[in-house]
């Protein structure tokens, strides 16, 4: 606004004003492109890489390629997306590029590279939320949860964000639970509940604690009494003597 008023005083004439305005906005655009990339353009660029990676991977697997093959296109795309992250650390698309690069390494069973790259993430990065999911899938595929657990333990100390800390603590519990170490799982989930009350992870941890306690195979199913959508009363006790399938579902 200031500029415009000054220009008006300086030139007064509309044609000149238009010319200056055009020049100014062009300059602004150039400066803008150099300093902060346009969010949509950057997201489009990374999304384009991600969807091309997906297409290449589908073609590769259709042609009989196996995840661990050296020419798995996921490796090339992981490298490209990681390069994007390193060149544009402040881009709004960096989280997406980071997560996808790590996901593709996991898909190619390149666990040691996945872990080496994960080690370079800073404790305050927004990508952690999704990176934990990738690490959990990698751990369950390789049947080795040690990296996930040690990384999560480190993050509980270093992450500034309570959400990331609580997720890290939850993942420790989940990792022990999946390896059937219920004592350690219980302890870790209990810590989520007491240390991070009010988080979604605390709520999930409470559910898992109940499951470890009461929902094991061979234990009596929890009793319930409800009304069906047709208005009939229904209860677990009413199915005694029958084999019962409960299907939890949704129309969505």
């Amino acid at each position: 606004m200031m500029c415009r008023r000054t220009l008006n005083r300086l030139f007064g004439n509309a044609a000149n004003l238009l010319g200056w305005a055009l020049l100014l906005s062009l300059t602004a655009l150039t400066v803008n492109a150099q300093n902060t990339p346009a969010p949509n353009k950057e997201m489009d660029r990374v999304q384009g890489m991600i969807s091309q990676a997906k297409k290449d991977a589908e073609q590769f697997s259709k042609a009989g390629g196996k995840p661990s093959d050296a020419n798995n296109p996921n490796l090339k795309w992981a490298a490209d997306l990681w390069q994007y992250r390193e060149k544009h650390p402040a881009s709004p698309a960096t989280v997406a590029a980071t997560v996808e690069a790590l996901r593709l390494l996991n898909r190619a069973d390149h666990f040691s590279e996945l872990y080496a790259k994960t080690d370079t993430l800073k404790p305050d990065e927004a990508a952690w939320k999704q990176v934990f999911n990738v690490l959990m899938i990698a751990a369950s595929k390789s049947k080795d949860y040690s990296y996930l657990i040690s990384k999560a333990e480190a993050l509980i100390q270093t992450a500034p964000d309570r959400e990331i800390k609580s997720q890290a603590q939850f993942n420790i519990g989940d990792a022990y639970w999946r390896t059937k170490d219920n004592d350690r799982a219980r302890k870790a989930f209990q810590t989520v509940v007491t240390e991070y009350p009010g988080t979604s992870w605390a709520e999930d941890a409470e559910g898992n604690l109940r499951e470890i306690e009461f929902l094991n195979l061979g234990q009596p199913a929890p009793a319930f009494e409800r009304t069906t959508i047709s208005g009939d009363p229904i209860s677990l006790a009413g199915f005694k003597g029958k084999v019962l399938v409960l299907k939890f579902w949704g129309t969505y």
């Binding site: 009596p220 019962l244 299907k247 969505y252």
Partner: protein, 95 residues
Amino acid sequence: MEEVPLLKELYAKYLDQGVAVVGISLDDELKPLQEMVKSLGMSWPQIHDADKSLMKLFNVRGTPTYYLIDREGKIVAKDIPLKRLGSAIDDLSKK
């Protein structure tokens, strides 16, 4: 929803053998649930778990999730894929 035809088949096959199916819908709204039950012809009873209390009681983390409960009310299987449900029921009948 692609599982519904398979579950209908299973339901029809085991109905005479003392096997019951109960659907527990986690939908927020009742209307889409009623419509889908009707349009897909699901004849087993449905509970609308609007307050998610059953979801919490059984610690359900995603849908669909199946629980298999034996004649004494004990948990036989949880998080079992539909394609393995039939053989799990057969195993129970042999006991």
